[in-house]
Structures are given as C-alpha cells and as structure tokens.
C-alpha cells in the first residue's frame, strides 16, 4: 500500500518534471521566461559548485534558525506566563488579537531604516512573524489543560512550578509543537522575503540579483532550492514533533492504525 503510493507519487513527480521539459521545448511558452527542466538542472549544478551559493545558503539558514529560536523561546515563556497568571490572559487578549494580524512586512521600511541590510533586519521580521504562531498555540494548549487533573494536582499539594512541569507542560506540548512547526515555515518565508526585498545577504538576495541580471535558469534553480529548503524544514519539524510526542495519544494512535 505504502509502496504503491510512493510509486504513484514518484510518477507524479516525474510527470511534473517532464511537463516542465516539454512545455518550453514545444514552444507553448517562451524559453526565455520558462527554461526547460534540464537547463534549470544545469543551473542548479552550477550553483552547487559555486562557493557564493553556499555562503548565501548559510546566511539564510542563520537568519532562519536564530530568528526561530528567539521567537520560540519568547513565545513559550510569554504564553505560559500569560496563561498561568490570573487576569493577565483577559487583559492581554485584545492586544494580542490586535497585534497578531499586523502583517510583518509592514515592518520592512522600519527594519531598513534601523538596520539597513544587516542580519538584524532579517531577525526583526522573522521574530515578529513567528512569535505569534508559537504564542497563540501555547495559549490554546494551556487552555486545554484538564480541570480535573489540575484540581487533583492542586489537592495533592503540588506547587506552581510542579504543576507547570507535570500537568500544564505535557498537555500543552502538542500545541507547542504545532506552533513550532508553523513558526519554522513562517520563519523561512520571512527570512527569504527580507533578503529579497531588503537585500540582506542570502538566497533571497541572490534570487533578486539573478532576476535583475536576466539569469533566468539560475533564478529558477534558486527558487527550487528555497522550495527544497522549505520541504526539508517541514519534514524535519514533523520528525521532531513525532519524536517529542512519541508518548502522546495522537502519535501512538497513528502508528497503531
């Protein structure tokens, strides 16, 4: 069953690549705009051999990872603090609801003015965008704590810290993991965006340069790289989630079926 699906998936992928080769070759679209798969693959290989490409990849990953770590740490701390302090949740709800939908790209002009094309520009955008993903999930998670378990822990005389550690955290962890997974994807989008629009060094800036210098196959190759990166991050985040929640019903249930 799994094997058959993998086969079908591979054939789908092959068809997709073949279509990418055939459409420009048959002249359906202009080859200058949409180079055939083989030329993109060529450009991809050239990129891999280029040292500047690896530097750009490293820059993008640095911005992504650093921003994600800051956002996740801040999101978890703030989320738990807000949820366990009486009244703080109600008091912050409207502010969070107002700040959350503010598109992070609105901060681009400010980031440019303050930090130019430095890493800090990228971090400002990445952290702002991914922080909310984590925060909101943590707050949902804490809300989900079973009142009976909470009361039981209380009546057994567990202190605040012990209750956070043994009751609240295990309940919230699946939500936290979802938040981290979403934040990881958002962080990549914002890291690449900042590079593309602001010109901070990284894959995004390389795409912008390839576009302005009419290096079309290189541009497509770089877009493919960002896609692969996104894919790796998704798969990686899922794996981490599965590991961290190996004890949890949702994961154990999946395996049994």
């Amino acid at each position: 069953m799994r094997g058959a699906n993998a086969l079908l998936g591979a054939s789908g992928l092959a068809a997709f690549l073949a279509l990418g080769e055939a459409v420009p070759r048959l002249g359906v679209v202009d080859e200058d705009y949409f180079p055939p798969t083989s030329r993109i693959a060529d450009a991809f290989a050239t990129e891999l051999a280029d040292e500047a490409f690896w530097t750009a990849l490293g820059d993008t990953l640095t911005g992504w990872a650093l921003g994600l770590v800051i956002a996740v740490t801040a999101g978890i701390l703030a989320g738990v603090l807000i949820s366990v302090t009486p009244y703080l949740r109600e008091a912050t709800a409207s502010t969070i609801e107002f700040l959350r939908p503010i598109p992070s790209v609105a901060l681009i002009p400010l980031a440019v003015l303050l930090y130019g094309t430095e890493l800090r520009s990228v971090l400002l955008l990445v952290v702002y965008a991914s922080f909310w993903q984590v925060l909101v999930q943590v707050m949902y998670g804490v809300q989900d704590v079973d009142p009976v378990a909470e009361e039981t822990a209380r009546s057994y005389g567990l202190g605040t810290w012990a209750r956070i550690r043994h009751v609240l955290w295990p309940t919230a962890l699946p939500y936290v993991m979802t938040g981290v997974r979403l934040a990881a994807a958002v962080a990549l989008i914002l890291a690449v965006t900042a590079e593309l629009v602001i010109g901070a060094p990284g894959l995004g800036a390389r795409i912008a340069v390839a576009q302005t210098s009419q290096a079309v196959p290189e541009m497509y190759a770089l877009v493919v790289v960002t896609g692969l990166l996104g894919l790796l991050i998704n798969v990686g985040a899922r794996t981490v989630e599965r590991r961290a929640l190996a004890w949890h019903q949702s994961v154990r249930g999946e395996v049994a079926v």
Partner: protein, 262 residues
Amino acid sequence: MRGVEAVLLRLLLVVALPALLVVVWWFASDDSTDVYWPPLRTILTTFPDVWTGERLRGDVLPSLLRLTAGYACAAVAGVALGTVIGSYRRVRAVCEPVLEFLRAVPPPVLVPVIMLFAGIGDTMKIAVIASGCVWPILLNTVEGVRAVDSVMSETARSYGITGPARLRHLVLRSASPQIFAGLRQALSIGIILMVISEMFAASNGLGFTIVQFQRGFAIPDMWTGILLLGLLGFVLSVVFRLVERRALGWYHGRRDASRRSS
C-alpha cells in the same frame, strides 16, 4: 447588578492594556528628537493628511482590489482542485509529492518569477497573490474532503444522494472547518504578498507608497503607512472571523455542546 459589574470588569480588561500601551508610547515619544521614532502625536496628526482623498483612491483601493481578486481566484481554484484531489485516492497519491514541494516554496520568491511572465502590471500582482494563497486552501481542502465521516458517506450513498447534492451537503459541508482554516492562513499570506509585490515593482499601492516614504525619509508618513497596514490586517481578520462565525455556526455550536457535555 452583579452582571453589570462583570461586564464592566471585562470591558476594563479588554481596554486597559491597549490604552496603557498607547499612553506609554505617546508620552515616551512625545519629546523624541530621534528621526526614526517620531512622537506619536506627529504620526497621528500626519495620518489624516496622508491617507485621505487622492491617496485613498489611488493607492489603498487598487491594493485592496488586487488582494480581493487574487484571494478569490485562489479560493475558487483551491477548493475546486482540493475537492477533486481529496476525493480520489489515486489522484492524491500522484499529486502529493509535487504539491508538498510547491507548498514549501516561500511565496514571495514567486514575485520575480511571475514578473517574467506578467510584467509589472496588475496581472502580475493578482497572479502572485493567487499563486501564494492557493496552497493552504488546496491542501486543507484535500485533508477536509479526505476526512469525511465514512458512516455519513455510506448513509448518503444508501439514500441515493449523489452528484452535486452529495458534494454540497456532505463533502463540502463536512470539509468546511478545514477549508476555513486554510482560508484563514491564506488571508495573511495574501496581505504579505500584496505588500511585497508592490514593494518590488509598482507605480501605486500601499506597499509602493510606504517604500517611497521610507526612501524619501518622510518618516512620520512612513509610520502612518505601517499603522495603516496594521489596521488593515486587523480589520480583515475581524471580517474573516465574522464570516467564519456565520458560515461555521453549526460547527462551533456542536463543538461547544460536546465540550460542555464531556
């Protein structure tokens, strides 16, 4: 009397922190001479000068129209394709890896790609917004359609409910919570893409204007632009929530009921 007090307390809790933050911002920045952080007073007095009349018609409106057009295209295409892919197991198996890859591409990198095809006009922006928004809608629809309750599906079959009626009353309805989750994700991606496509290449629009202000060092004007974008994001998410509440009223009601009974 107690009810009134409770309402007042709630109201106080809702208003207190935002009010406090605004007041802090107002006084902390009041005698600010830092070029980048102008006093809130200046920003607020600049706001009406900047965002009325010509600019509202010439920049805000086109932006919103592009967003609406792109988002609508993505919603229609996403739900339609998602329903087809979700309904047939084999189609799903064939498409899955390609879809996963396409979804993983950060949407903003589509701006330079689509610029090649569509130039820098409105078509490009609508295409960018649509092609970025479509993935969360599509994939969520697939998940939702897949998860249609098999008992209900069998029941529908044995009652002879097929074709459009089955699609409308069973498939789309039971997938709608998932579809709305996708639409919600797509909305924030849409706003981001609207702004970015205008920052990249445009002659009007919100993103374009804000970058113009920044390049011209019209800092208070730039700040009003940031505030306006924030306000826009907020208003759109409120509107979305109202629509969702109406459309998914039955679902939220059922969930609340089951939560109370458990």
